[in-house]
Amino acid sequence: MVGIIAYGGYIPRLRLERRAVAEANAWYAPNLAARAKGSRALANWDEDSLTMAVAAARDCLGPGEDRRHVGAVFLASCTLPFAERLNAGIVCEALTLAPETAATDIGGTQRAGLSALAQGLARVRAEGGHALVLGADERRATAASPQELDFGDGAGALLLGDGDVLAECLGAATVTADFVDHFREAGRETDYAWEERWIRDEGIGQLVPRAVTAALARAGVAAAAVDHFIFPTVFRKADEQVAARCGVPAAAVTDALLDRIGDTGTGHVLLLLAHVLERAKPGAVIVAAQFGSGAEAVVFRVTEAITSFRPVRGVAGWLARGVAERNYTKFLSFKGQLALERGMRGEQDRKTALTTAYRHRAAILGLVGGRCRETGRVHFPPSRLTQGQGGARLDTQEPYKLAERQGTVLSWSAEYLSFHRSPPHTYGQVDFDGGGRILMEFTDVAKGDIEAGTRVEMAFRIKDIDDLRGYTRYFWKAVPVQPLQPLERHAAE
């Protein structure tokens, strides 16, 4: 039995209120007022599709030390930071997966989330083991465009396997057609879109039902038996229309969270699938569909094992920890659409020595320190010599993962002097539970969040952006520990 064995998601902390966008652009695009409801998820300046994919993967995999069971990573996104340099490879390093892990970037269409899922299922059927399917987008849109309001940032994650699954894959289907509802030339920042009515009626209305109907037929499940129908689309009621055309009950249509976080792109279907799995009951039938250059659909049936798993925070947890953001210029700046004065300190060359980066990739990307097997002392970065009673010891440190450990703030400051994309630049010393100390940056913090003694956890984030050469480098930052939200699986819906 092949299917889902774990799931997770990630939604960035900031929730840009659409009214703020509409009000800022009212002089220019008063028509946006009609869309000025709710909020959209906004990635912090140091988040991109890659860091969000890592966050979703950690939500799915949990804090376990041993991740050798993951044999493959499929990363779906249309906004990956590197056109050439395996993005999924960076994810593997950040998750400290085994070097034997297969890693693949998948993109090119908004339905890449389900394409990655199909690839993952195929891999599990062929080779066994577990496949990690990730979908993430940090979406870009032209200022004052409807997309700016519709889009959101986020990521979803599914771990696939064979055996004791939480949800069994019953069937899937694909329709490929060069239906160009929008396109983006390689290297361009934003999309060019065609008329909405044509997309809705001739694209979504025709292609998605074909994929859904075919998937249901392969699964041997009647449309009327579908309990959860997931079809993220920014066109209002298009999901209900597709469901009706397929014969899926209207009550099965899942809220796509567009009012709260927007359409987060390729990973949105995975994020919604995770969200449905957080509350689905054994026996429930789930259909998920995605539109883009055709359509793709997949059918799952939830098993009794569903109650035996919970993600670290889950989509419900990430939804709950949002912070309202009303600053439109901050949004534009984070999206690279507003060049703010950086001052002389912003001129600093951020060139990355690739030799150094490779040599220390476990420490930098995986936050792996060194723990002395004799003294128990934890060093970061790891080193050949360890201090201790009786003098320094040579080559006694063993790899010691810090990313999934929490810590406590020893000291901190927040400064307005250095160039920082979201001042104040806040950093300080963190003492890890179980040993280890790093002077590191804090992120996702507001004034008053950090004090000596504050409990923090680790987040994989952008460390620096080398604008001159187009190279993003990553490291880990500390964020205040968020309280865990209870997941109310069996609560009445």
Binding site: R345, W412, S413, L417
Partner: protein
């Protein structure tokens, strides 16, 4: 068993340029200014100098990275000139090299010069430094104010000090240094300020405001040293001699384990302990007449009072507010204005501190002269609280 440096080397002469925004002076001009004064004070000819050490920190101000910038600027007489670099403690390192050379008998007369020309870099505050290829990949793009501001966060936590009280104490540190600097004609900042001004100033790095940060200045300082017997032979009567020179560099201990609580500077405590032993000082608060400490930020000066044993742990806030370190207090600190107001041309600062001790001990400090000081201490810190180089030097009148 090493016998230490006490009374084995004397200061023959010193000089110090005016510090500040020296828009029309090159680093060479500043070195000539300090050296000229030192040479005249020493009463020797350049040809009598056997060796020189040169301290400068920034490599992008046109003075180069070797010893030649000093040798060429001063037209030194075909001698060995070595550049030393130890962050903000480089000036003290140059002194130590010259003093050790004399004490070793390798030379009779040695010169140490420090210089920094920060105001050609275009920055307000310190310029951005490069730190190699690995550190920037994981270490925060940190700036000095926030590195030192962390002392405040940890100090508050360690000693349960109310944030507003600590803020007021460090404000007093700056008010005092401005009052002192106003009486120093060579100081960069010579304005008297009020506590209210300090408290209301814009924040640079929580909780440090503009007035909690030292001046960023151009300047140079020079010292010529020799053996006491040679100094007397050259006609000197009142001698200022070195009692102790200690430097300690962090070895990573602060950033490993959890023994260090971030509220003090470990190397300073070790260097101070060794310096007191070397100088034979049993009770620093009683025996030290005055100090020049590395007050790069007001909070640094406050915790340094505890690191040097001049305040009991947790008591510096009280002592500072009680005026113990004011000009008329028990142990005056920064009587020349300190880094805060005399200024902080990085490579020169360690030598500038010694310059004030020298003037005070010889009764040549003019309007800010203290009554009869006998022993002075300089504390020169490079780096930041969690990893640094700390120098503690003690000088005094010969026989003191």
């Amino acid at each position: 068993m090493a016998t230490g440096i006490k009374d084995r080397v004397a200061i023959l002469g010193m000089g110090c340029s005016r510090f500040g925004e020296r828009w029309n002076a090159s680093p060479e001009d500043l070195m000539v200014e300090a050296y000229g004064e030192a040479l005249a004070d020493a009463g020797v000819a350049p040809e009598q100098i056997d060796a020189a050490w040169f301290s400068t920190h920034m490599d992008d101000v046109g003075t180069g990275r070797g010893g030649t910038p000093l040798a060429i600027a001063l037209r030194l007489p075909d001698i060995g000139v070595t550049r030393v670099e130890n962050f903000c403690a480089g000036g003290s390192e140059a002194i130590r090299a010259a003093v050790y050379a004399v004490a070793a008998g390798a030379c009779d007369i040695a010169l140490a010069v420090g210089v920094e020309k920060l105001k050609d870099t275009g920055y307000g505050g310190l310029p951005v430094a490069t730190v190699g290829t690995y550190i920037p990949q994981w270490y925060p793009n940190a700036v000095a104010p926030a590195n030192f501001a962390q002392l405040a966060a940890a100090y508050r936590s360690r000693h349960r000090v109310d944030a507003a009280l600590l803020k007021r104490a460090i404000a007093h540190v700056s008010v005092k240094s401005h009052a002192n600097g106003a009486r120093n004609p060579k100081a960069h900042l010579r304005n008297v300020i009020t506590e209210d001004q300090v408290l209301k100033a814009p924040i640079i790095a929580e909780p440090l405001g503009l007035f909690d940060c030292c001046g960023v200045s151009d300047g140079a300082a020079a010292v010529i040293v020799t053996r006491p017997d040679l100094a007397r032979a050259l006609g000197k009567t009142d001698l200022v001699t070195f009692k102790a020179l200690q430097v300690v560099a962090s070895n990573g201990w602060e950033m490993q384990g959890s023994e260090w609580d971030g509220s003090y500077v470990h190397t300073a405590r070790v260097a101070a302990r060794r310096a007191y032993a070397e100088a034979g000082i049993a009770d620093p608060r009683r025996d030290i007449s005055m100090t020049e400490v590395h007050d790069c930020f007001s909070i640094t000066e406050l915790v340094t009072m505890e690191d040097l044993g001049l305040s009991e742990p947790g008591q510096a806030v009280r002592d500072v507010l009680d005026g113990v370190f004011d000009a008329d207090g028990a142990v005056p600190c920064q009587i020349d204005g300190g880094l805060k107001c005399f200024g902080h041309p990085i490579g020169a600062s360690g030598i500038r501190m010694l310059y004030e001790m020298y003037l005070q001990l010889l009764g040549r400090a003019g309007a800010r002269q203290l009554p009869g000081p006998r022993i002075g201490l300089t504390h020169n810190l490079g780096g930041q609280p969690s990893q640094n180089v700390c120098s503690v030097s003690i000088v005094g009148l010969e026989g003191a």
